[in-house]
Amino acid sequence: MTRPIPTTSEELLMAYAAGRLNTMESLLAATLLSVNAAARQQLALYEAQGGHVLDEEEPSDLCHSCLESVLQRIDDQPVRAVPTPCPDMPGVPEPLCTLLRECMTPDSLCWKAVSPGMECLPLTVDCAGPQQLFLMKLAPHESAPSHRHDGTEITLVLEGYYTDTLGRHEAGSMCIITDNRIAHSPRAGDKGCLCLVLTAQPLRYRVIRQRFFTIFRR
């Protein structure tokens, strides 16, 4: 059973605050939060609501040994290991580095050329369902092939900027496309562009559609 991806940043952050996102959506939200202060402010409000919910709870009885066990555990606590720095990935924010460090094998960290000037690094983890998460790198002034979406597409710009039919998207901004009639072809600015992309369904490139129509007409 698949659950739809949130379609607004508000829905995404509320669901994040409530702990309702899946692994990939949460990773996207965490990355947005790491680069965008306005998103952090929004989250602060939602999480404060969570705190309010907690304050309103009627206390439940705990078993007698509960506190003792906790005190025992804090006495026995080992010193925590300091996380190692991120592998060679300039411009990649920390939540993603955590994923790259802890969940991916070096073999799976492999950029794949999609079209001239465009490379993708698949980050799909916990892959139940058709959702896909990937890093997308566009070389300066290069465009991604024009494509449509069968479902929601969320793009978070990490470095540089890109422009498409909807305008210019700067680093730190997030663009959510829910209208499957929109076909777009993001074009990177003069310094190239690095984005984190989550799609509800694999993308359909327009080229393929056109070919399909050509065959159909014959």
Partner: protein, 216 residues
């Protein structure tokens, strides 16, 4: 830092931090001064962080552990599992209290985020990555005009939520406990999806406006 004592009424001696407006731990009684439990939970957390104060830790546990357990039980887990997560929450509180900043979040908010993350950890086998303030790389600063205090005080928020129409407050609450998208909440409440979304948006806008108004 001097904190408001529970004998001084708030209007005469405003506490230095907005978060400490609750001059007493919620639920603490006037006579309950042993173990520092009459202190606000924010102060207890600060003491745990700075001095590894066990008395403060026990006081915080006594107040919040039973509430966190109730909170977890609402997600349909059994007693034993809920208590195990409560223990994990408080081990993390001990470990991370140093990072708690009373200027940024109320104690209940901070504890809520830990409880939420521990619940997710317990439910999943794979690594679940959540945001941590260490991870800030500040690419985009907050728009200045839209800022409301980063600190959303317990008191202010309670007031704001109390000011909401009942059906809006209920939907907000529901969106915390139900592992469901808005479409399913709509089915359950027999409301059209558009209504669920617009009520939630209304509720959030009201909360936001309330926060802004109180700030100025």
């Amino acid at each position: 830092m001097v904190y408001a004592s529970d004998t001084i009424p708030f209007p005469l001696a405003p506490p230095p931090c907005a978060c400490l407006k609750n001059s007493m731990a919620p639920g603490a009684t006037q006579n309950d001064t042993k173990n520092g439990s009459s202190l606000p939970p924010e102060e207890l957390l600060v003491r745990i962080g700075k001095d590894k104060d066990r008395k403060a830790f026990v006081a915080l546990f006594s107040h919040y552990a039973p509430r966190i357990k109730s909170f977890l039980l609402k997600y349909g887990m059994d007693e034993a599992q809920a208590e195990e997560i409560v223990q994990n929450v408080f081990v993390t509180v001990w470990e991370k209290a140093e990072k708690y900043d009373p200027q940024k979040a109320a104690a209940s908010t901070w504890l809520f985020t830990i409880a939420r993350n521990k619940r997710i950890d317990a439910m999943r086998k794979d690594k679940f990555i959540t945001f941590d303030s260490d991870m800030i790389s500040n690419t985009v600063p907050a728009p200045e005009k839209e800022t409301y205090a980063e600190t959303v005080t317990v008191e202010k928020l309670s007031k704001a939520i109390d000011s909401l129409p009942k059906e809006q407050a209920a939907l907000l609450r529901m969106s915390f406990f139900e592992d469901k998208p808005h479409s399913e909440i709509a089915e359950e409440t027999n409301l059209p999806l558009g209504t669920v979304k617009s009520r939630l948006r209304l509720a959030l806008n009201k909360l936001r406006n309330f926060m802004k108004r109180e700030d100025t």
